[in-house]
């Protein structure tokens, strides 16, 4: 029924992977001695962490596992409507990692079953049921919209099925609405905003105006930024909540922002709204006049080419940047561009890391997905070098503990990109509302 959309790796790819993996295992001790760089040089080998390989050498490649049933992964991401580009990016990143891993995890062939998340929570929930009950997937990954995440939360919770969320950042899922069965490989909305509040108060100005869309992520942005900004001596002189989902022409909002004479404007828009807002900001002559700071998504690489010069100089916080200087990122960004023809963006990174987290998790349980608690334990314990730095999950917030980078949009060789100007350190969601 779902064969045409499923990604099935061919037998030849599989055998080749077995060969490569076996070779890598033989060289296991040598690899671990070489450290991260050697690991990334042989991507297929990274599918099995050296430690696991040493303790259970034969398991992942043992002959019987060839007959093991394929690992069915349900992917629930938006492929239509306003979030379609995000869904495409996350999927591309994830499939890229699965291919690097040879299409195998824990000795089982990876089979991806994709469904459209859309934007309506009840329809997305129906897709989740289809993946879990009809396709009998081992677990589900995806979810871009926080509204959808809120809508499917109880289903995964009450059915004790694992959901690895690769985008939606609603704080609540790490706090009041936390469930053992939903883990995030992406971020919480609090993470990229909170450290920037301190930085902004110390380096940019003490009087800030906030402008965000009137929805969950916007509210999370306000509280996170306000908390640290005020703690560092800043004052929020105004908060503007713009209509969601359709903002329309932002010029009237921007006119009001400018008239309030803030020392800086902090905002969070994404997708079409980000481009529309940023271009109007530039056209109204405010680029370079009033310092604009934002959550990193607003000037991320997916929207930056369309935003153009208006975005120059915008500073933002995010858990990744295209120019982030590490070997994994260099390799990843190059491979992603070769694959898709576009510069990588944070969503692609999240997809890529999700792919790797899945493979590492399945390797750790040696392909046995029957016990969801063991699966969750394995997921909580993984750690690997990622394009965003080291990837590891915080057991309390069930989201990544990750560095937030302060980035500035600069002209790099004729094109606009985010350049890291400061590492704001490792940021872990507090797991409660104590810090906004």
């Amino acid at each position: 029924m779902t064969h045409r959309k499923a990604t099935i790796f061919t037998r030849r790819q599989f055998l080749r992977t077995l060969g490569v993996t076996a070779g890598a295992l033989a060289a296991g001790p040598a690899l671990s001695a070489c450290g991260a760089t050697a690991l990334t040089a042989a991507p297929a080998a990274t599918a099995v962490p050296p430690t696991a390989a040493l303790t259970s050498v034969p398991a992942p490649t043992a002959v019987p596992t060839v007959a093991a049933p394929s690992l069915k992964i349900g992917v629930l991401l938006p492929y239509t409507d306003i979030y379609a580009a995000l869904g495409e990016n996350i999927t591309a990143g994830m499939e890229m990692y699965f291919e690097e891993a040879g299409g195998v995890a824990g000795g089982r062939t990876i089979k991806v079953i994709k469904e459209d998340e859309g934007t309506a929570p009840d329809k997305a929930l129906e897709k989740a049921r289809k993946l879990v009950e009809q396709d009998e997937v081992d677990f589900v990954t995806g979810i871009v919209s926080s509204g959808v995440l809120a809508g499917v939360r109880d289903y995964f919770d009450s059915n004790k099925k694992l959901l690895i969320c690769s985008n939606a950042g609603a704080n609540a899922l790490s706090r009041g609405a936390k469930t053992p069965y939903i883990w995030r490989t992406s971020f919480t909305n609090w993470q990229p905003n909170w450290p920037v509040g301190t930085w902004a108060a110390e380096n940019v100005g003490k009087k800030a105006y906030i402008s965000v869309p009137d929805y969950g992520a916007g509210a999370n942005t306000i509280t996170a930024f306000q908390n640290s900004f005020e703690a560092a001596g800043g004052t929020i002189i105004g908060v503007q909540k713009t209509p969601f989902p359709n903002m329309g022409d932002p010029a009237p909002f921007i006119t009001e922002l400018a008239a309030a004479n803030p020392e800086l404007v902090y905002c969070f828009y994404s997708g079409g709204a980000a481009v529309t807002f940023m271009k109007a900001w530039g056209e109204l002559g405010l680029a370079g006049q009033i310092p604009l700071m934002s959550s990193g998504f607003m000037v991320e690489e997916d929207v930056l080419p369309a935003e153009g010069d208006a975005a120059l100089g915008v500073r933002s916080g995010l858990h990744w940047a295209l120019s982030l200087d590490n070997a994994d990122n260099a390799k990843f960004t190059e491979a992603y561009k070769a694959r898709t023809g576009k510069d990588a963006n944070v969503f692609a990174v999240q997809g890529y890391d999700t792919g790797r987290a899945i493979v590492e998790m399945i390797n750790a349980v040696e392909g046995d997905t029957s016990d969801v608690d063991a699966l969750i334990d394995a997921l909580g314990g993984i750690s690997f070098p990622s394009p965003r730095g080291t990837f590891a999950l915080d057991a309390n917030s069930q989201a990544p503990k990750q560095h937030i980078y302060l980035r500035e949009v600069q002209n790099v060789g004729g094109a606009l990109h985010n350049v890291v100007i400061e590492d704001l350190g490792e940021i872990v969601d507090p797991g409660d509302d104590s810090k906004g």
Partner: protein, 315 residues
């Protein structure tokens, strides 16, 4: 003779509906629950659109209000449907009374847009008034419904039991709407649909009749919204969005306007078609669009019209 066949078919259909949970896998049971809920929603719109000629494009207002009233009371007050369902029905009917009071002064496309305007205003409130409505994330964690009191309380916590609850509500709604459209009142509604001026000349207070239909339709739409919320355990602002009004109207047109079977068939097609098509191709919107166009060109009276033609053609 034909009458007997109709009754036989009906009994077979009801028996099939009763044994259905034992015959299918859980996912198909969940689809059936959704189709039944959306059938109630579509039938309630048909009372307005098909029987009274009121083209409402704001029917999501009642569906969504039902969803939120249920979520709010089930989360804060009680999950007993003996309390929640009457509250939902009263709430949705009151809203219909208010919207109807204003909207029924207009007609045609203007009525269509005024009703949409009211639903969109409610959507805007649901998004912005987050302390009460949960904002864009909606209200989650809605418990499964309970019926009865004390020792005689029963919780519909399994999917099978919830299916039977929804089936019961569906049958009750169907019987109720059927007797409404079959009554002299229903005949008056059809008279208004066909020629309102004549009805007025005959001494009917058409405004009152239209208002009554609008309130009844709103109440049933509220019930459908409440049933969906118990099932998804989540009240979302999207239930109030114009796309929801559009979806139920499309269900009706595809199924066949002005019948009570049509809405059910339409709800089944519109709810199930994207689900199955999207498993085969990412371009499911094109397929859906083409199906709509084919319906318009070749089945202008919807599925019911197609079936009727097929029956009439037989010698």
């Amino acid at each position: 003779m034909a009458r007997h066949w109709k009754w036989a078919a009906l009994i077979v259909a009801i028996l099939a509906a009763i044994v259905y949970p034992y015959a299918v896998r859980s996912y198909f049971l969940s689809l059936a629950i959704e189709v039944l809920i959306y059938s109630i929603f579509a039938m309630s719109l048909d009372l307005l659109l098909g029987y009274t000629g009121l083209t409402s494009f704001g029917h999501a207002a009642f569906f969504g209000l039902g969803a939120y009233i249920l979520a709010y009371t089930a989360l804060g007050l009680t999950d007993n449907i003996l309390v929640t369902v009457p509250l939902v029905i009263i709430g949705a009917a009151l809203l219909a009374l208010i919207i109807g009071f204003f909207a029924l002064r207009t007609s045609g496309i203007y009525f269509l847009m005024v009703t949409m305007a009211f639903a969109q205003m409610l959507f805007s409130i649901a998004i912005s008034w987050s302390d009460v409505t949960g904002g864009s994330d909606g209200l989650a964690g809605v418990p499964r419904p309970v019926i009865g009191v004390g020792a005689w309380a029963y919780t519909f916590d399994s999917r099978e039991s919830y299916y039977y609850l929804v089936l019961a509500f569906f049958l009750l709604s169907w019987i109720a709407l059927r007797s409404i459209v079959g009554s002299p009142f229903g005949a008056a509604l059809r008279g208004i649909r066909d020629n309102e001026q004549r009805m007025r000349a005959l001494g009917y207070n058409t405004f009152r009749y239209k208002m009554a239909a609008f309130v009844i339709g709103g109440a049933f739409a509220g019930l459908a919204g409440a049933l969906l919320t118990h099932f998804t355990q989540h009240a979302a602002p999207e239930t109030l969005y114009w796309a929801t009004s559009g979806q139920v109207m499309i269900m009706l047109i595809v199924g066949g306007v002005g019948t009570l079977v049509g809405p059910m068939l339409g709800a089944a097609v519109i709810r199930l078609l994207p689900t199955f098509v999207s498993s085969y191709t990412e371009r499911w919107e094109i397929v859906l669009g083409l199906v709509f166009i084919l319906f318009v060109l070749f089945a202008p009276r919807g599925i019911v019209g197609l079936l009727r033609r097929a029956v009439e053609k037989r010698p």
